[in-house]
């Protein structure tokens, strides 16, 4: 029987936290890219596209992330793909993030006055030109604080991948708990490490909100 000192527990948790960070980063970047596509589709005003995106967002906001993980895990294997927990976790988290980010960003775009679109049309700008030169630069200011805020949800979301067998911080916590029988200590450490990752992001988001709002008032 191997003995775990407090340092062993903490060190192992920190090592596992790398995977939490890496998975969060991939999910956030993937979600950003796919979310951008969705946002463009939603602002395009083409009925079928808009409906498709709305359905997608509704589906991912109205079902538990855990179900999405299970569906990705078992759905991919139905398609004959060899799925590791990695693949399923990445797929589910990217789709989950993209749905929420799309919702945040289209909200930001809609918050801009309609006159901006009309003025751009009068100037003869195309949809993409309007987006590129008029809408996005303004929407970006509004969007940046809630986007950083959402990254906290992504980090917390990765905790659920422990359930489909991905070894990250939470899974390492349950494994260490089984080995040491010190649940109070282990889960307190796990919570604290998540807090050390998420709290700076929360603070940064609040800072951005204050900073961008004050100067953004007309």
């Amino acid at each position: 029987m191997m003995q775990f000192t407090d340092w062993d527990i903490f060190r192992n948790l920190l090592l596992a936290a790398r995977w939490t960070l890496l998975l969060s980063l991939i999910a956030f970047i993937g979600g950003t890219l796919f979310g951008l596509v969705l946002t463009f589709m939603r602002t395009s005003r083409r009925k079928p596209l808009v409906l498709l995106v709305r359905g997608f967002v509704e589906l991912f906001q109205g079902t538990p992330l855990l179900m999405q993980l299970f569906l990705a895990f078992f759905g991919l294997s139905l398609l004959g793909l060899d799925v590791s927990a990695w693949t399923a976790a990445t797929l589910a988290l990217v789709l989950f993030s993209s749905a929420f980010l799309c919702d945040i960003w289209s909200g930001c775009i809609e918050s801009l006055p309609k006159g901006q679109w009309e003025a751009s049309r009068c100037l003869g700008l195309s949809f993409f030109q309007t987006m590129r030169y008029v809408i996005l630069p303004q929407a970006l200011r509004v969007a940046i604080a809630p986007t950083v805020g959402f990254s906290v949800q992504v980090v917390k979301g990765t905790a659920l991948t422990s359930i489909i067998g991905f070894v990250e911080l939470t899974k390492a916590g349950t494994m260490l708990n089984n080995a040491t029988f010190q649940p109070f200590k282990v889960f307190a450490w796990v919570a604290l490490i998540y807090f050390m990752i998420c709290y700076p992001l929360s603070l940064f988001s609040q800072f951005l909100e204050r900073k961008l709002n004050v100067s953004g008032k007309h």
């Binding site: 109205g62 079902t63 398609l79 939470t170 109070f184």
Partner: protein
């Protein structure tokens, strides 16, 4: 890619799904009431004039909002017995939901409270009301109205998050899904049906709370 979805064989398991759905609903109902109650108390503590109270409430809110629900659940279910606090899985699940919603609703409510014009507090004091009376009778009702839809959204998020409670063997909807997939081997189908049930539940909650708002806030403005 020649798999054909088979929903037909799920039919014998409908009672399990129904029972799980009821447990999820029950947990959500208690958690909503308990969480909003706790959130109101914490929101009051956050605007309290005693610094330690404010600080304590702030630490609670930030700790909960910056850690995953599943870790909170594990801490309560596995960790607290070390302090000789024994809980059944169901109790641990409910407490985790209440504690979680409490932090988020406190933060949402605080935004609603801070939007109250200062004159309202002053007017209340002039009328000889105590701070407590001003808070509960003048500040809270319009604050709730202002933040109602975000509060409903948060309650729905907590309902969806409750699927994690299956991990400590509370027999709610996700637990039923796991049970069915292990019996029938129809993994994708059972999770798909369960996901759709959650979606339905979320939509019904939104609709139900919308109707409730029309009734409550209309009778209030009279």
């Amino acid at each position: 890619m020649s798999y054909r979805l088979n929903f037909h064989d799920l039919i014998p398991y409908l009672p399990e799904l129904g029972r799980g759905l009821l447990v999820t609903l029950e947990l959500t109902l208690y958690a909503t009431v308990g969480g909003i109650l706790l959130g109101t108390i914490v929101a009051a503590a956050r605007i309290s004039r005693t610094r330690p109270t404010r600080l304590l409430a702030g630490v609670y809110v930030e700790l909960i909002r910056n850690t995953p629900f599943i870790v909170q659940l594990f801490f309560i279910f596995f960790g607290l017995p070390a302090l000789n606090i024994k809980l059944t899985a169901w109790q641990a699940g409910l407490i985790a939901m209440v504690v979680n919603l409490g932090a988020y609703s406190a933060e949402i409510l605080r935004a609603g409270i801070e939007a109250t014009p200062k004159g309202q507090w002053e007017a209340g004091r002039t009328l000889g009301l105590t701070r407590f009376q001003i808070f509960t009778r003048i500040v809270l009702p319009p604050a709730f109205q202002r933040i109602y839809s975000s509060l409903v959204g948060q309650c729905i998020i907590v309902m969806l998050g409750s699927s994690v409670i299956s991990q400590i063997s509370v027999e709610e909807l996700t637990f039923a899904a796991n049970f069915i997939q292990s019996r029938s081997f129809l993994s994708f189908e059972s999770y798909l049906v369960t996901a759709l049930l959650y979606l339905l539940l979320a939509m019904l909650m939104r609709r139900g709370f919308g109707l409730l708002a029309r009734y409550v806030f209309r009778s209030q403005s009279r």
